[in-house]
Amino acid sequence: MSGPAVVTGAARGIGRAIAHKLAADGFDVVAVDRDPKVEEVAAELGGGARAVVCDLTEPGGRRLVVEAAPRAAALVNNAGITRDALVTKMTEDDFGAVIRVNLRAAFELTAELAPTMTDRGAIVSMSSRAYLGNIGQYNYSMSKGALVGMTRALAQELAPRLRVNAVAPGLVATDMAMAMPAKVRDKLVGRVPLGRMAEPGEIAELVAFLVSPAASYITGQVVVACGGRSVAP
């Protein structure tokens, strides 16, 4: 590949799966997370992979990433958190934390890294099916909808040099999903036409496609990967 691939939130779950897939596809992966476990992920990847342990909400953290990934060919904005509550019970702290981690960090990192990326590079941001709305996630839904907006705008601003897309996964079998009470999880899975959660690797395959030359005419789009949940009753 012509340059490294930056994957944020790479210590676990979807981000870890994306890091593994992009490494398998030949990228030198820069795996980023505030959790030092990301160093273990980089070690698993081998080759030219390296870890950056930092807080992307801080300018100094983002600077470390930009320095670690000169002339990057791909950026995957995956880092995110949830702080769920009905809006009537949601605190302003929880609202702000989700906006800053899920949105501000992605926007600022993209703004700082994109000018240094190689021509014909690609950016993929992880939205969520929740951008179509979700109970108890006013903050999360807003942040993920905003990432769709960022994607549409940057696709036009950065064309033809870079492509910019988003992925909106539904329920994925991550640690976060598996931590839900089984009764709740089963109820949610019951609404998915495909009858199961996605595996992180399935989302990684989609991201890998979007950063690859096979997606060379796709930009400004959001791909919903939710097992059909977004069209089911």
């Binding site: 809006v87 600022e108 179509l132 108890g136 839904s141 807003m142 909808g145 905003a146 994607t151 705008a153």
Partner: protein
């Protein structure tokens, strides 16, 4: 019909308040009803976006706590990302917020909708639809585009 609502009309949306008044809307508190218009001018950094999002949260929480309806007014050009990232993030974030609010309010009949308009809207047309959507009339979680900027595009 909800005859009163709090209207958040930041820079770029100055045309909305008189149009709503002419259409019959009285001034009120968020507990009466909320019309939150997307800021489209003077966005210079993410701080401006976060400030508007936070204000939408504060006002929405007040409206929701009182069981009042909410309407989010956004520019279609910004939904499509045609006028820069900052406005695009705000517009799309508010549309997602409307949908989440509609879901949360479904059980108790509290409604939330979104309205999109072109960059050069006809204020009286936007105001007319805004009052209908604030009232609901069976519509919640809906998106109505006033104008033609959405034609053949991916919005909503």
């Amino acid at each position: 019909m909800t005859a009163r609502a709090h209207v958040h009309a930041p820079p770029g949306c100055g045309w909305l308040v008189p149009a709503l008044r002419d259409a019959g809307l009285g001034s009120g508190e968020p507990e009466d009803g909320l019309i939150f218009a997307q800021r489209s001018e003077g966005l210079t950094s993410f701080d401006d976006v976060e400030a508007e999002m936070t204000e939408s949260f504060r006002l929405t929480r007040r409206a929701a706590s009182a069981g009042a309806p909410a309407l989010y007014v956004v520019c279609i050009a910004d939904l499509l990302g045609q006028r820069g990232s900052l406005a695009a993030m705000l517009a799309n974030g508010l549309l997602s917020a409307a949908r989440s609010m509609a879901l949360e309010g479904r059980r108790d009949g509290r409604i939330a909708n979104a309205l999109g308009h072109d960059p050069d809207p006809r204020p009286e047309e936007v105001a007319s639809w805004a009052l209908l959507l604030l009232e609901g009339r069976g519509v919640t979680g809906g998106f109505v585009a006033v104008g033609a900027g959405h034609l053949a595009k991916v919005v909503p």
